[in-house]
Amino acid sequence: MIDPGSTPMIVVALLGTVGVALPLISVARGERGSNSFYAAISLGALAAAIGYVGYQAAAGNVAPGALLSADVVSDDAFGGFFAIAMLAVAIMTTAGSINYMRRMQHHAVYYSLILLSAIGMVLVAYSTDLVMLFVAWELMSIPTYVLAGFHKRNPSSNEAAIKYFLFGALASAVIIYGISIAYGLTGSTNIAEVVRGFAALDPSMVPLALLAAGLFIAGFGFKMGLVPFHMWLPDAYEGSPPPVAALLAAGTKKAGFAAALRVVVMGAVALNLDWTLALGIIAVMTMTVGNVAAIMQRNLARMLAYSSIGHAGYILIGLAVAPFSATGSTGAMFHVLNHAVMKGAAFIAVAGIVTTLAVTHLDKLKGLGRRMPITALGLTVSLLALAGVPPLNGFWSKLVLFGSAIDAGSASAAASWAPWLAVAGVLNSALSLAYYGWIIRKMYFEGEEEKRVRSEPRSVVAVMVFSMLFMVGFGVYPDPIIQFAEFAAPAFSAGAGIVP
């Protein structure tokens, strides 16, 4: 039985009640309620939820690492870490939407969909049963299809939603097929039972287990934006409303990594496979394709979309070397949290620019540093953090990630190729600095004639200030997050201790 007082249940009850109540309140008030009223309610609910998760983790009421339990959800620090990252993204998205939504309709539905999607993301991180994982995955995905097409009269928003929907639906179909094979092989949908069943599998059945693992990688890879499955991603992020793109890039994508860490990595360790090289190759392909394609973009949202493909590649390094290096999964989770804030801030900055100036083309951003000083500063800091410039948080997580790859190479002869992942990562970071620097140059060193200061959306300014504090603060003093990530990271070095 699930303990009704466990963290995920409380969060689901809280956010679910508010998420369902918002449209009802709107109907009861005859659709007259103001935009900021609904935003304030959902911000309050999200803040309470993140506070509760953080309190439970800080008070030591949760188990460290990732547990595999007989229940459908487990109250562990792994889920808590991802829950905090994704609830923070939901807060940034909600706050950043206030000004953007002012000119649109159906405010209550919009904020309610964000809340429902946040429940799905949190549950994906906590779930220890494939049925729960699938239901949570869909709860996370279905609201985002609607959100991506929320701009009903805008053809590109609709087109983005349709492409995103088709690939998302295929991804869930592939995942449920993988679950069906895993269920047929092991007779259970509990992840612990599946892992145990895979470890004791008859050798003639191993190819089928491989097929299941491959289907899981493909299904989760669609959401994560890994390279053979990434073609929908730039279109979806460019066309959907910019705050929603922040939710997609920083939130749902990270839920894919949570699911992959719990299911794919553990299952593959149990199967005792040399799957790590395959993940390493996908990682290098993903970061290279993402960064090279980003250089050629002329649209800010599209460039950030390709850059988030590149970052999926960096995070995948951590997953690939996890069995050889204890810091692999720590680095992956650390970068997940950092990337959530950095990319969220960048897309919210785009939302602010779109709200005020209605442009996303790079040539139109000339002189933005004078026209919208705080938004431009926030965008600059987040771009530098994404590139991994030293005093910012992105530097530390990349350091841990690339360090874990080098560790793995020296720790195990089977992973002698792992240091090359670090080399590829460093080269790609240097490459990414080229296009990030180009945006910064456009904003500050071009367009001298632009003198007029525009009034910046206040909610966007608030998000910018928060994320700059986060990026600079945890860049100067990263220890608390590293410790939390170490506490929360699942330990599956050499297959030890994963089977309860």
């Binding site: 279905i142 087109e159 088709l166 639906a169 592939v174 097929y177 069906s180 269920y183 047929g184």
Partner: protein, 101 residues
């Protein structure tokens, strides 16, 4: 009894192939939606068939969940294509290409 299971698995794999083929080749949104549905139903067939030969009914429960969720997904997909049809007077995905690069 074992052979029966193989028959079910073969049908399921055939359905999976048909679904993937449909998604890769067709450009009509409704057809692509059908293709996704075929893949989901291939998985459901697997689940129910495996549950038949296992001592508990967890697979049938999951199949029920999956059917319900697929229905919700189709509802969202159809509403998206209705909005698109009002704008383009077309349900051909190849015609939707304002986003490029």
């Amino acid at each position: 009894m074992g052979n029966e299971l193989v028959d079910f698995a073969l049908v399921s794999v055939a359905l999976l192939g048909i679904g993937i083929y449909g998604l890769a080749v067709k450009r009509n949104f409704i057809r692509m939606l059908f293709a996704v549905e075929i893949v989901i139903n291939a998985a459901n067939l697997n689940l129910v068939a495996f549950a038949r030969f296992l001592p508990h009914s967890g697979g049938q429960t999951l199949a029920l969940f999956s059917i319900a969720i697929a229905a919700a997904e189709v509802a969202v997909g159809l509403s998206l294509i209705i909005v698109a049809y009002r704008m383009y007077r077309n349900v051909d995905v190849a015609e939707f290409r304002s986003l490029r690069g």
